[in-house]
Structures are given as C-alpha cells and as structure tokens.
Amino acid sequence: MSLPFHEDEILGKAYDARLTRRLLGYVRPYRASVALAVALLLLTSAMSLVGPYLVRVAIDLHIAPGRLDGLGVVVMAYLGALVAAFIFRYANTYVMQRVGQRAMYDLRLEVFSHLQRLSVGFYTRQPVGRLITRITNDVDALNEMITQGVVAVFGDLFTLVLIIGIMLYLDWRLALATMVVLPLIIGATARFRVQARESYRAVRVRLARINAFLNEHIMGMGIVQLFGREAREQSRFDALNRDHLSANMAALRSFAMFHPSIGAMSAVAVATIIAYGGTQALAGAVSLGLVVAFIQYAQRFFDPIEDLAEKYNILQAAMASSERIFRLLDEPVEVADPTEPVRAERVRGEIEFRDVWFAYEPDDWVLRGVSFRIRPGESVAFVGHTGAGKSSIINLITRFYDPQRGQVIVDGTDARAWDQRELRRHIGLVLQDVFLFSGTIEDNIRLGTASITDEQVRRAAEFVNASAFIERMPGGYRAEVHERGSTLSVGQKQLIAFARAIAHNPEVLLVLDEATSSVDVETEILIQDALSRVMRNRTSIIIAHRLSTIQHVDRILVIHKGRMVEEGTHRDLLVRNGIYTKLYQLQYQDQEVRPVPRVSTPSGREKEGSERA
C-alpha cells in the first residue's frame, strides 16, 4: 500500500454541492437498497429506545406495586425488542456495506477503464504511485463515506428526534426541564468539532512534514554523512518532531476536555431529573418509573450528538478524495479515436511518414520534417546516434503519440483515422527492456488475447527458439514468472518478447533492439536467428543494435538530430563515408571482433524504448 506522506493535506469543505451531486450518481443505481437501509436504521433506533420505556412500565406496574405477574411479559417484550434491534442493526450494516462495495466497484472500474484510454504521454508525466493511490485509498474513502457517513447521519438525527419525542410524550414539563442543557451541549460539540478538526489537521500536516523530511533524508543519507551534517539534521528533525508533539498535545487536550465537559453537562440533565422529577414524584405528579426511564433516556442523549461530530471528518476526507478522483476522470484523452474509424481485416503493411515534426515538450523538436516510405514486406533498419529520434518514430507508428505536424500513414490512411486498438492489432512491438507480467510464461506470450490457442503459443515459442529453455523450466509453459522475470536472463526475456509478437501474428513488426546489457554467446546466436526469422514475410522496422541485423535488412535509414540524412544498404552507405560510417565505427564495428559487445546504457530520450512508462 502506498504511504500517504507525499499527498498534500488539503482538506476542503465537508460538503460541496457539485461533488456531492456527482458522488450521488454512483449511489443512484442502488437507491432501493439505500431506502431499505434507511428504513432498517429507523427501526433499529426505535427498537433500541424501547428499553427505558419498558423499565418504566416494569417499575410502575409491577415492581413498585409488588405485582410480579406480568413482569415476565415485560421482560419478554424487552428481549423481543433486543432481538429485533439486533436483526435490524445487522441487516442495515450489511445492506449499506453492499451498497458501498458495489458503488466502489463501479467507481474503481470506471477509473481503471478511463486510465486505459489515456495516452502513453500521460503515464510519463504521472508517477505510478499516485495513480495507485487514486484507485485504492481514494476510492476507499468514498466507501467509508457511504457505509458510515451518509446513512448513519440520518440514523443519529432520527435517534435524537425520537428520544426528544418520547420524553415529550412521557412528560413534557420534565422533558423541557431536562433539555435545558441541550443547546449548551450542541454548542459545545460544535465548538469542539471545529477545534478538533483544526488540531487534527495540524497534527496531520506536521506528521506529513516529518515524513517528507525523513523520506528525503533517507534517500540523501549519503550526502548527509559525506557533508558531516548528522548533528544539524538531527536538530532540524527534532524541531519538526517537537512541533508534531505539541500539535498532538493540543489535540489531546481538546479531546480530554470535551468528554468530561459533555459528561458534566449530562450530569446537569440527570440532576435536573432528580431534583425536579423527584419533587414531582414526591408530590405524586409523576411515577417513579418515569423518573428512572428519564434518567436512562438522558444518558443516551449524548451518543448521537458525539457521533454526528465524528461523521464530519469522514465526509471531509471523502470530499477531498472524490475531488482527486474526479480530476483524474476528467483528464482529457490526448490520443483520441475518430468517430468513424477505418477498419481492416488485414493490412498490407505500408508505412509512410510525410514531413513529420514531433516534440514531447513544446518546441523541443525531436523529429524535424521526417519523410520516408516503407513498402509492404520490406525490412528497414533505423540507425542513429543517441537521441537522434529513432524511438520517437516507433512511438508515432504505434500512435502512442500524435505528431504536431505532418502525417503518419499506414496503408494509405492517416494513422489518426484508425481506431488505435485496431491499428495496433496489426503491429507487433518488441521493446528492449522486456516487460513481463505476473502469471505464467504462456500468459506472457498470449497476454489477454483469448483467441490464441495453446498450440499457437507453442509454435510461436518454437519459431523464435524460445521453446527449448521454456520446456526446461519446471512447469514449462505454465511456469510462473516471478518478480517481473528476475529469474530469467535478459536474452530469455527478449526471446519471450519475440514469441509474444509472433503469437499475435502482426503484419508490421517493430523491434527496438538496443543493447542494455550483455547476453551470453549462445543466447545471442538464438536471438539473431530468431530476429531474422520474425522479420521474414512482414514489414519490419528495426532500431538496430546488432551488426548482423543492419547487414541483412533491405534498407537502412540514417536519422541524425531529428532528420533523415542518409539511406541505402549497409554497403552503399559505408562507401559514402558520411554519418553512417561514423556511426558504424562507433556502434557496430567492434562487433566484428567481439560478437557480444559491451555497450554503455542508453540515456535521455532513448529510454522511451523501455516498456515501462
């Protein structure tokens, strides 16, 4: 679970009409259940208030006059009310939980589904942890509001009204006398509520500050120690910690004062009953049982009032959470689908860029007017220095992003005219940093495409030379992938990525093949062989790192600083002695002597090639 210290503690109102309306939308489908829950709650309140009344009956009709016959009946009625209260209370709890859980299910799924439509660009801007907090903790806060907040508020109010009603019914003068302290109690509670909220907020804000400080200093502990800052950082930490302590003590104080003062006021109510009610009873104006019943009602008076104060905090937290969730739900879809998209069973696999200009950040052009055409079935390698814009070309063909100017055209149709998912169904993508999901090897090849049979999974693995190592694993294709594939070697993961692409049988294949770390010689041979096989009979676009690949493609396109600068076969380009020649000497030549090169990690924009967002 994520830790909340990075969330700013901005709590707004406990009630916001706009947010509430939108929130209620999630409860609307279950309004029948909510109505039932409210009814059950009212019954619960009523049943639990029967007790003192029956005490009065027992005292006045049986105990005081000394008539035992019929006392059993009163006690049975008492027990009956208890059973009824038990059932109603339980049913209410369950019904509300069900509503809360269902509403939460709906909201959570809606957030997740919306996130699936957002572009890759959105994910590069948002920390994953924050998104997870939205879908877990924030949604939970709403559940809390539904199950404990809204309906319970009705219950508390009803209980209060009911007690007042019963007391007025039993003896209106005594009732009014008892309720003299009520305004005081409500006033004190309201004041306390404000105080408690402020002091708790101070506690939370200061705790968040401590935790932010701690988090930063754990990450930068090396710097703290290198610069001999331990003593000074300790005293800064102590200051924050002391601030938190004093806020804590203030909160403690307001709580420690509240309960006894409510207790004192309720004692005034009981004392009123003793003095006024007692005198009345002495005079024979009221019965003894009534006095006892009144005392019991007066003692129950204060629970719903205290309860209501607590609900306020729940509502407030829920408002803050819903604000954050709705902001996410309102996030516009940057790469949108057209209303009437192009569809095709098969594509030929012709890719064309027409004067494409592209930037991740405004005016920081990564591609500057790139144009090329790749014929169906042709194999092409893009070659360029780090940051030249190679992986951006792949990001545009898959429509992870849209270009700012110019067109990306697939089979003669602008990529923006396609349905994204439809377009991507025809494009296989193999990224360098292979992302494996938890699940089996088989799951990772098939992904969620149910139409791929076990047989097809196996044939795909065989085709890319992956079957041998998969079958050696305990469980074979059903072997579980642990911790994102930490038990698999880099080479094995690449082979799985090939199998994944082949199983989906795309007409266009994109391979981002930049070395991140060394692969053992045997696997390297398998990968090179697999690569040449998967490229056969389909349009293949490779960001090549392997010399063997660039030597065998139909055409090499050289990208330099966002522009297409040279093109031709390996031999043609070498002769030209231009940029390609330099790149060749820098990146590929060593492979002639060392088949398994050590290459430094790519940096900057080229990290876009990672499968992680």
Partner: protein, 589 residues
C-alpha cells in the same frame, strides 16, 4: 528484546504513568459514586423524604461528575501525553540511528520499508503506550471495583451479570479471530488489486501495443469483483460484532430488570439499589468491550516494536575508530588532511561478486587524477572508499600515510568534497543547499563556489536568488543546474580532496570548459579525482587510470595512453567520432 527497549521508554515516564494510574483510581471511585446518589434519591422518593434531600443529591450528582471529569482530564493528559512523548522519543532515536548506519544498509533496504516502519509501526507502538496502557489499566480497575460493588448489593443478581457479561469478551475474541482472518483475506486482495494496477500502469506500453486494454479491464474487473466478494464476506461477520455487543448488554439489562424486580418485590433489595445496580452494569459494558480491543492494540504494538527493533539492532558497519576501541593517531588530528591518497591491495566484494580486484595506487597530494573505464568497471566504488561510504573487503586505504579507518569520520569526511553521480539536492533554499558542508552564514564562500561552478548566472536569473527554494515545492532545476549546484556545494567546503563522479555529464561542453578552467585554479593546491566519460574532461589530468571489470588496466598521461593503443585509446577514438557526430549539423541528401 523488543520488550526491553519499550520498557526502557516507559520507565523513563514512570512518574506520568504512576500519577495517571492513581488518578484513574480516583476517577473510577468518583464514577462509582453516582449510581449510589441515584439510589439514595430513588429510595428517598419512595419513602417520601424531604425535597431538600433531593436538591442536595442533585447537587452532589453534579459535583461528583464535575470533579470526576476534572480528574479524568488530568488522567488522560498524563497517560496519553506520556505515550505521545514516547512516540516523539522513538522517532528521534530512529532518525539518529539511521544517520549512523552505513551506505551499504541503505543500498539493500528499500526507502519505502524504512518509511513504513517510521509511519505504520511507530503509530502502532504509540497507540500501545498511550491508549493501550491507559485503557487496559482502567479496564481492570473498573471491572473489579464495579463487580465488587454489585456483589455488595445482591449476590445472586451479581452472579447473573458475571455469567452474561464475559460473553461480550468471548464473542469479541471468537468473532475477532474470524474477522481478523477475513480481514487478512481482504487485505490480500487489496494488495492483488493494487499490484495489478501497478503492473498495468508500469507496462502500459505493452498493454497498448498489443491492444490489451479490453482484456486488462476484464481482468481488473474480476479482481475487483473478488475484492467485493471478500469484503462482503467480512461484512457479514464483522457486521455481527456491534449488534451482538448491544444484544448481550441489553439481555443483561433485561434479566437484571426481571430478577432484580423479583428481588425488590420479595424485599431483598430496594428499588433504589436496583437502579444503582443498573448504573454499575452500564459502567461495566465499556471495560468488557475494551478488553478485546486493548488486547489487539497491545499485540499489534508489540509486533511493530519488533520491526522497529530490527532497525535499532542493526549495527553501523562503518563507525568512528573510537567506537571500535582503537585510537586515532594524534598528529593527524591537527591541521586537517594534506590529501595524499594511497590504495594498497584493495579488493571490494559485494554480494559475492568482486567489484574491485587488488587495486594499488598512490596519488600524491595536490595532483589531479582522472579515472575512466566502461560502465560497471568499479569507478564509483573506488572513490566511495575514500570518504568511507564503503570499506574495502581486504586491503587498506591511506590518507597522508594513515589508515583511514583510524581517522575520526568527521575529520576524514570534513576534508573531502564529493560530487556524486546523481545530483541530490534537498528541498530547501539554494543557499542552504550550497552551504550544506560549512557553518551557516559564510555567504562569501558560497558565492565564490557558485562562481567557479558557473552557477552564479543561473542564480541571478531566479527572482529570489540564493533564497530560491529547490525541489518539489520550489523551482525544478535542469540536470546541468543540479550538477553545477552539487559542484558548488562541494567546493564551498574548501576540501583537501575533491572528488567528481561523472559530475559534468549534463553540462554542455562550453560550460564544462569554463568550469574546468575555474577548477584548475581551485584544484592547484588540492588533490582532485575526476571520473568522466568525456576525454575533454580528463585529458589535462596529471595521471589517468583506466579501470576495466574492477581491475586497474592502464595508467599514464593522456598522450602516453593514446600512444599505447589500449582501452583508453579506443575510448578516445570513439570520443572523437561522437564529437564529430554531435558537431555535424550538415544535412546531406
């Protein structure tokens, strides 16, 4: 072990806890007085006493409640306050302990884990020493006092209550166990759900590339549905808890009303005593519920204390020589470091892999040495040995001829300025960040350092200048600005040894040249170690050493190494190609 540490904290606040305990006794006694007041009133009414008595009793009732409330206030402040102070002390000690731990510890412990202990576990311990201790002591007092008083009123009635009320605790414990199990299942599914979401968000490129959105939504919906199922299963059990409590307590009342009524009618007790008895019954209900609750608090708190203890019990692997019994040689302590560095047969292994193999290297004071080599060849590890962020597995590192393990850490590190690979700045003002290694208030040195690091121009552009906040709540610095800030920070220390770990990688070549020129003046009388991938940065060094796979494979000046035609010459040739490519603005074809 963990109990002992916790007890030590509690013992430090024994006065507060003892006072709290005494106050709790008094407040309980006062609370128990009120039902007696009621009894006297009821019996008085029944026997037709004077109205004046009732007024007196009413006043007594209020008086007792107000006094009791006053005492309860102080009781809570004492006991809960002690708990909060203990939380404060543990938190301070935790941070102090972390500051003493070595870098290796932070490398194999996730920050999130350390934070979870500081947040969740400390919270659980805090609840144990505040609410847990307070309620458990009060529960016991209240239970014995109230039941004793019940027995003085009427034995059979008290026995009836003693049979029924413990069922509250029994139900709490039995249901509690089941609830706990089902809650664990819910939490488990909650983790599955967030893990699934995390996987999806992290692997969104694959999801999108293979058009798996619909399948992912289906899979998520299934996990979501299972979560609902488990949560509702929990609700079915946990929903019983409070209604059951209310039911059992209500049943006790109903039966007391019945049997008590009989007792009144047959004359065993008075009606007032019955009302008094009811009062005690109500007072017992909370302790019965609290019993189960505090047991939980205490168990969770102890488990959390054990997790905190695991950190407290980690011994710093790198500590001052004094802490190990050895004494630093006195002469070295005076005048600071001169800056002569020597590695003698240094080998460093991590997790069974040897990162550095038998390195022997002497760097005379005042020289500039460049370290080059491919990624992963051990350059950063080598320089980390000098300020003792790491200690060698075998071999010795000496400064000014003294084994650095014999130098006090503050003195050793005080003479070294390090610019790490990852430029890390704290969320604070630029001034504070740059003055990190020196006494506050020496603005002149900070400004000189910023000038050499070519940061002064940038600072001038910020509206708040040196008072500009950096980090999350301030301006976001570019990679180059961050690197220059960390260089200035190291220079401001005026160190005898300056270490730059690939510290100019995000700085453009012109600025780099300017910084290097400034540094050469600055570095004239100190020892500098520079790790870099750029030949332009290292070519002017007095000595260049080349690491490959943890071994020192070449050493010499730039010209000598280029002439030798080894690994360095190869790196140089590639560097020239790279520069040619970067300079190439021509767009042929």
């Amino acid at each position: 072990m963990s109990t002992r540490r916790l007890l030590a904290y509690v013992a430090r606040h024994r006065r507060a806890y003892l006072t709290g305990f005494v106050l709790s006794l008094v407040s309980t006694a006062l609370q128990l007085a009120n039902p007696w007041v009621l009894r006297t009133a009821i019996d008085g009414i029944q026997s037709g006493a004077a109205a004046r008595l009732l007024l007196g009793l009413a006043a007594a009732y209020v008086g007792v409640s107000v006094t009791g409330g006053f005492i309860r206030f102080h009781w809570r402040m004492r006991m809960l306050g002690a708990g909060r102070r203990i939380e404060y002390e543990i938190r301070n000690d935790y941070f102090a302990h972390l500051q003493r731990l070595h870098q290796g510890f932070f490398q194999h412990t996730r920050t999130g884990d350390l934070m979870a202990r500081a947040i969740n576990d400390l919270n659980a311990v805090s609840r144990l020493v505040s609410a847990g201790l307070m309620h458990s002591s009060n529960t016991i007092i209240m239970f014995f006092a109230a039941s004793a008083l019940m027995f003085t009123i009427d034995r059979p009635l008290a026995l009836l209550v003693m049979v029924i009320l413990p069922m509250v605790s029994v139900v709490f414990v039995l249901l509690g166990r089941r609830i706990h199990r089902q809650f664990e299942r819910v939490q488990e599914q909650f983790s599955t759900l967030s893990a699934r979401a995390q996987e999806n968000f992290s692997g969104i490129r694959v999801v999108k590339a293979f058009a798996q959105e619909a399948a992912e939504i289906d899979a998520f919906a299934a996990i979501n549905q299972e979560f609902v199922t488990r949560a509702l299963r929990l609700a079915r059990t946990s929903g019983v808890l409070w209604p059951a409590m209310a039911f059992i307590l209500g049943t006790a009342s109903a039966l007391v009303l019945w049997q008590g009524g009989v007792a009144v009618v047959v004359g065993r007790i008075t009606l007032g005593q019955l009302v008094q008895f009811f009062g005690y019954l109500m007072m017992l209900s909370w302790p019965m519920i609290a019993l189960g609750w505090t047991t939980n608090l205490i168990q969770q708190g102890m488990a959390s204390m054990r997790r905190l203890d695991a950190i407290f019990n980690t011994k710093p692997a790198i500590a001052d020589p004094g802490a190990r019994g050895a004494r630093a040689p006195a002469p070295a302590a005076r005048g600071g470091l001169r800056g002569e560095i020597e590695f003698r047969h240094v080998t460093f292994s991590y997790n069974g892999a040897t990162v550095l193999h038998d390195i022997t290297l002497r760097i005379p004071g005042g020289t500039t040495v460049a370290i080059v080599g491919p990624t992963g060849s051990g350059k950063t590890t080598l320089i980390s040995l000098i300020p003792r962020l790491l200690d060698p597995t075998t071999g010795t590192v000496l400064i000014d001829g003294i084994d650095i393990r014999l130098l006090p850490l503050a003195m050793l590190r005080g003479g070294i300025g390090v610019v790490p690979q990852e430029p890390f700045l704290f969320s604070d003002t630029l001034e504070e960040n740059l003055a990190l290694g020196i006494e506050a208030g020496d603005g002149q040195r900070v400004r000189e350092a910023a000038e050499i690091a070519r940061l002064d121009g940038d600072i001038g552009d910020f509206p708040l200048g040196y008072q500009t906040m950096v980090g999350e709540r301030g301006v976001t610095l570019s990679g180059g600005q961050k690197q220059r800030a960390t260089i200035a920070r190291a220079l401001a220390r005026d160190p005898a040894i300056l270490i730059l770990d690939d510290a100019l990688s995000s700085v453009d070549t012109n600025t780099e040249e300017a910084i290097l020129t400034g540094l050469r003046r600055f570095a004239a009388e100190r020892t500098s170690l520079i790790i870099s991938h750029r030949i332009s940065t290292v070519r002017g060094a007095d000595l260049i050493v080349v690491l490959d796979d943890g071994r020192l494979v070449e050493r010499g000046t730039h010209d000598a190494l280029v002439a030798a035609g080894g690994l360095y010459a190869d790196l140089y040739r590639k560097q020239l190609l790279r520069e040619a490519l970067e300079a190439d603005e021509a767009v042929p074809s």
